[in-house]
Amino acid sequence: MRIVETRDLTKKFNGRKAVDRLNLTIEKGELFGLLGPNGAGKSTTVSMLSTILEPTQGTAIVGGHDIREHPKEVRKVIGVVPQEGSVYDDLTAIENLIYFGKLHGVDGETLRKRATKLLELVQLKNRTKDRVKTYSSVMKHRLNLAVGLMHEPQVLFLDEPTTGLDPAARLVVWEFVKRLQDRGITILLTTHYMDEADYLCDRVAFMDRGKIIALGTPTELKRSIGKMEVIEIKTPKVPKAFLTKVRKMKGIKKVVHTSDNLRLLTPTADTLLSQVVRLASEAGMRIDSLNIAQPTLEDVFIKLTGKTLRD
């Protein structure tokens, strides 16, 4: 059963198309990822779906309601967890939950019961009565998630849920997101971390310049670039001469160079490895680590667009 369906959803800012005739569907209970670099149109899409930004053209049906015609009804069935910790610093965790719960029409006994349960779920039970301003950023993040769940939404929009978190904290959030999916909540996750999308999502849509350029399960997407492997080199500095030569090398399909990392996409990693090492030593390049890896979603994205997700 479809729970989100966009129909030619378009948003223009000063004539520039931030989202361009978007057509996608999300099934009930699915964990769907919108993956793309900053400025690809992910947040704009979420803002339109959550009815706080009016589309220039097209529309979407969320939980059976049209976002343009019945925005208030849509807001009742969705939960949104914005990127920044949108909670009141001067209120306690439980006060924040009760406040936003009331705004969503939760009342009576349910209010406190649900707030307490959620605080347990996000492991803040022992800090219930402390003001949010005394919380660490991870704790604030967890409360932010809990607030989005106070009215038991059918669809949850998670906008870059782990941006700014350290690796350990990211894992905590990932586990939490998985648990939410187990409870039957449909989740739309936007992220620019490919490992996050790979680990969490049932299906992923790559978004670039307002358009969906690829869509499928992470496995399907990785297969879509053919039988490819990646030669991954960690190095503090890449000499220009090396880069020019390696790009011209037969069998290398794509070369991606980031600050301390070089990724070479090739169907024949084994055979090319020794040549690459020879070229590196000729150019006087220091190699900190070298290995052959399976392609990631990022490599798929690079193959499709020629740029990295951090561009």
């Binding site: 009815t51 706080i52 949104v80």
Partner: protein, 351 residues
């Protein structure tokens, strides 16, 4: 009742901000004390007074023009009218030069309004000085004070409503505008936006929060005035409450207007101050309007504070009723409606 939920939340946030509590309640009390000390002296500005000139002899005319050189005299036809205008608070004093004055049969009468302490003392000393210059030590002058319903003049009649209006305007204006700007900045506004509520609920809640804080301020000011400074209210206390309610509505509606364009809390408080200080000075909140030059006095009438102060003093000092203060209240209500209309229309209920 989403409005109540939002208002209760904002009040809770407000009550936990020590700086807000200081500016809302402690600072105004401090200001009242400072002003009551500073303005216990006299002013020395050209001042208006009424004059009934019934002695048209050369001496009478010379005496009149000597007074007119120092004061700005407005000629009035008869004594009753002059007395009534002083008693009514329309003029601080009236000088009556009777027909038998130049022949030594009658003395000049100076009637002044006790409630205008600073102006009145100045007028009395000016008239006494001029008269002494004319007639030597045997001054043919009778000085009489009149007052409204209250028993005796008390500076708190100026400072309590004066500082009260100023601080309500400042705290209400800043409170509402800053709270909204901060909500926008910290992202909580977005969360409210994502809830199934409308613009009216959100603004209603924020304005109600500002209104409740304003009511607490009014209670503190008048309690301070009555129990500490011995303020007596000649008229109805219900009218004082009505005027106070309008002043609070004016302040929160003004804050709403500021919230529609201010981008930072600093910009919001700066804008509120930029309006409040001139409005306080020109509106007669710090010192009586009569002490200002004529041009400035006409500028006063542009500010809502002028009408609020007039209404307060008419009730507190002169014991006037609802019908008599209705003109002042109407102007205040006009300002409130305009502020609300602009605020509601321009407020962006989106990110």
């Amino acid at each position: 009742m989403k409005v109540l939920t939002i208002a209760a939340k904002s009040l809770r946030v407000f009550s936990r901000d020590r700086a807000s509590l200081f500016w809302s309640f402690a600072f105004p009390i401090f200001l009242v004390i400072v002003f009551s000390l500073v303005f216990s002296g006299q002013g020395s500005v050209r001042i208006n007074a009424l004059a009934v000139q019934q002695d048209h002899s050369p001496i009478g005319n010379a005496y009149f023009s000597a007074l007119d050189n120092v004061l700005t005299l407005e000629s009035v036809e008869n004594i009753q009218e002059a007395e009534a205008r002083v008693l009514d608070g329309k003029a601080p004093a009236a000088i009556i030069i009777p027909a038998g004055f130049s022949t030594g049969q009658e003395n000049v009468r100076l009637i002044y309004d006790e409630s205008r302490a600073q102006v009145a003392t100045t007028i009395v000393s000016i008239v006494e000085g001029v008269t002494k210059g004319f007639f030597g030590m045997q001054t043919p002058l009778n000085v009489e004070s009149v007052h409204g319903e209250y028993k005796e003049w008390n500076p708190a009649q100026q400072f309590i409503p004066g500082i009260g209006i100023m601080m309500i305007l400042m705290v209400g204006g800043m409170g509402v505008s800053e709270r909204v700007v901060i909500e926008r900045k910290t992202g909580t506004f977005k969360r409210n936006l994502l809830a199934p509520i409308g613009k009216l609920s959100f603004l209603g809640g924020e304005l109600l929060c500002g209104f409740v804080i304003g009511c607490m301020q009014v209670l503190i000011f008048f309690a301070l005035g009555i129990f500490v400074f011995g303020l007596e209210i000649a008229g109805s206390i219900l009218l004082v409450a009505l005027i106070s309610a309008l002043v609070i509505l004016m302040s929160v509606s003004f804050g709403l207007v500021v919230s529609t364009f201010a981008r930072s809390p600093e910009a919001a408080s700066g804008t509120v101050n930029a309006f409040t200080f001139p409005a306080a000075a020109f509106g007669g909140l710090w010192f009586p309007v009569e002490l200002m030059p004529a041009f400035m006095q006409s500028v006063s009438k542009v500010f809502p504070t002028y009408y609020a102060m007039n209404a307060y003093q008419d009730v507190i000092v002169r014991g006037k009723g609802l019908l008599e203060i209705l003109p002042s209240l109407s102007v205040l209500i006009g300002f409130i409606l305009v502020f609300f209309a602009i605020g509601f229309l321009l407020f962006r209920w989106k990110e």
